[in-house]
Symmetry: C2
């Protein structure tokens, strides 16, 4: 009885502070696992706990389950009308970071099996470390050259610059530009980039460049069917879509020449060795399916919350990057007040019951305490920007509290 009362009190946001239940406004760094996903995982552990690589019928059932789920992921990424994605184009990985590593390093490794010339990678200045550092490593090893496409103050890449790069650079083998930025939520128009790529492929009569996008932040908010985006490679991550940790996938268009980054067993079409993590893979599929299914409603709901925050920002506080609908995902609000130390604000807000972020959790804070993404917008806000990211469990009552807190902290 006492437990039930405490439970009810806990659920009631009025009392949440007493029980130290904080308002979570950092969904872009990690989405809590959805209960239904966790249920799927547990049920697979209980009912399909066999190695899909073995020969007996129990293992064959596990293998069947794996292929069924692979097909479902392909269907989710297809336009329903065209079924453009095939199951054999989906490789399951340990997450978005590995998917990005495989996409970039794998394409370059494959390039060198038949070429000697140093290839060029085209990328943006605001990529996630899991793309940026992979490219940095290839540069350090003198295996690639890079053209960095700058972004406009809106956060959208500079298309004039991009077009020019295509006119002047030779040997562009890979274009890697993220769909949704993890810090500022800005959406890049992949279909526009794909058009330019297609034009140059045709002109040069070449299979290159391939087009990769880090789509980890996107599935809950964007219609990202593959043929609409025109990409050859797409990275996804379970931990950003209310799915399990430690799982993701890389979509690899048929015909793309790529190698794995790890070696071992012949799993995942020989591209990703290691016993398949079936419970996590099934959980990932469930999470991706739900992200797509709930997308339209969530975009409406969170879009209104985003507008509400925009409208109620205190004087002197502005939004980093575009606020145009369609150019930014609805769950992201990244704000700056010049001279206001963002890390300090994170601690202040935490003390007052709201969890938000300054720079990405994936930067090495010891090394870099400013955001290179925000700095790329040209406003010198890298150390004074706060990312508020809402999600599936965010309520209006929470949003209002967050706004009140922002008003309080930023007007002191």
């Amino acid at each position: 009885m006492v437990y039930i009362i405490i439970h009810i009190l806990k659920k009631n946001t009025m009392f949440s502070r007493i029980f130290k239940k904080k308002i979570y406004a950092d969904y872009a760094t990690l989405t809590p696992i959805d209960g239904r996903v966790l249920k799927v995982m547990v049920s697979i552990y209980k009912d399909f706990d066999k190695n899909p690589g073995a020969l007996y019928s129990g293992a064959v059932l596990a293998k069947k389950k794996l292929e069924e789920v692979r097909k479902k992921v392909a269907e989710t990424l297809s336009n329903t009308s065209s079924n453009s994605v095939h199951a054999d184009e989906i490789v399951f990985t340990s997450g978005g970071t590995e998917s990005n590593n495989m996409a970039i390093q794998g394409v370059i490794d494959a390039w060198y099996t038949t070429h000697k010339e140093i290839p060029c990678i085209v990328t943006s200045t605001i990529e996630h470390p899991a793309v940026k550092k992979v490219i940095d490593n290839l540069v350090n090893k003198k295996l690639v050259t890079v053209s960095y496409i700058p972004v406009l103050p809106s956060g959208v890449i500079d298309f004039v610059y991009l077009r020019n790069v295509f006119e002047t650079e030779n040997n562009i083998v890979l274009v890697s530009i993220m769909l949704v930025n993890n810090e500022i939520g800005v959406i890049q128009s992949l279909s526009e980039i794909a058009k330019i790529i297609r034009y140059h492929k045709k002109k040069n009569n070449s299979i290159y460049p391939y087009f990769h996008t880090d789509g980890c932040q996107a599935p809950c908010y964007i219609d990202m069917h593959i043929d609409k985006m025109g990409v050859d490679l797409l990275s996804l991550d379970g931990g950003k879509i209310y799915g399990p940790r430690g799982v993701g996938c890389l979509y690899i268009k048929r015909g793309v020449k790529i190698q794995g980054v790890m070696y071992g067993g012949g799993q995942e079409f020989g591209l990703r060795p290691g016993t398949e993590n079936l419970p996590a893979i099934c959980g990932f599929e469930q999470a991706l399916y739900m992200a797509y299914a709930q997308r339209k409603d969530e975009v409406l709901r969170l879009g209104e919350m985003q507008q509400y925050v925009y409208k109620n920002l205190p004087a002197g506080v502005f939004v980093n990057g575009t606020t145009l609908p369609g150019e930014r995902v609805v769950n992201n609000i990244n704000i700056c007040k010049k001279g206001k130390d963002a890390e300090f604000v994170v601690f202040q807000m935490d003390t007052l019951g709201v969890e938000v972020s300054a720079v990405t959790a994936c930067q090495n804070v010891q090394e870099e305490s400013r955001s290179y993404v925000v700095d790329a917008l040209g406003q010198d806000c890298g150390a004074s920007s706060l990312r508020i990211s809402f999600g599936r469990h965010t309520t209006w009552s929470e949003v209002r509290k967050v706004v009140k807190l922002i008003q309080k902290i930023y007007t002191i």
Copy 2:
């Protein structure tokens, strides 16, 4: 009520065949997750579902949990008296395959940051594909040369050959020899190998060679405290110790020069990027702890079962590799009858209710339908060998049934 009766019947092995509950005798390919481990994972998903890289106190708690678990893993791998393993020597990975990739590729990558000469790797002829193929890849890229140490008919490596290699090979940078073979269960005497390595390191006044072992098959059966084994690098995997899939660790002795195989965020001391998979990591720690805690009892129990099978093998069927206690883990029985097609036996046994393996699930069956491990023993049994591997849930009643089935199938 009906459900309860069915449940009781299911539990009763007499009726298990009616309900198609097979006898699982393939623990070496995958251990079913322990219920207590699954419980830990679920509880972490519920209570610590924050990104350990963020700054707010909830995330700091997740980070604390991560470091607490890292310390516990270090303690488990330490001799209790010496506490020889430090928490900062444990890097969590996505599993044994990744750990092996990092150990081998990472050491070679680090070598090339300060050297130009092509290094030599010393390894055995019976390594798991997750070691073998990593080395193959480095050979193909002309980044290393390799000395393959053959094994004796017992499956134990040829120490005369090994000593000779150390006398004749220059530039040995890495020795990678597995602790317990996944197919034949043979244990290599790592401390003996370590002695030879130490002698040559001292003689050459060099920090090289490093000593890596793939220990994935070992924790449930062997006292593998680090300083006893004398290794610099040790790979472990959750899926082989009744733990979660998609998680493992690499022990890296302080001072070992190594790089990661993937690039991105600064997680795991900069060696393994990507949001830490805290639920799986906590489950892994729990599984490793339990493996060690139950080891002595399990070695006795499964050892008796192993002896029972040995004694009751039909005529013409012999055990691949040593049967000497201490030279082979107690859960592994790998048998051969010349000319008997092993894959066919796997299907036969499956039909009759027992799940076993022929070649490892990690080989690409299309490519290789014989076991190179068994072939390395020199008896031409690569296509006619069956691996029976028992485990935590194996009962005497099951063992007797397996033996009866073996007798039936192999005397036809």
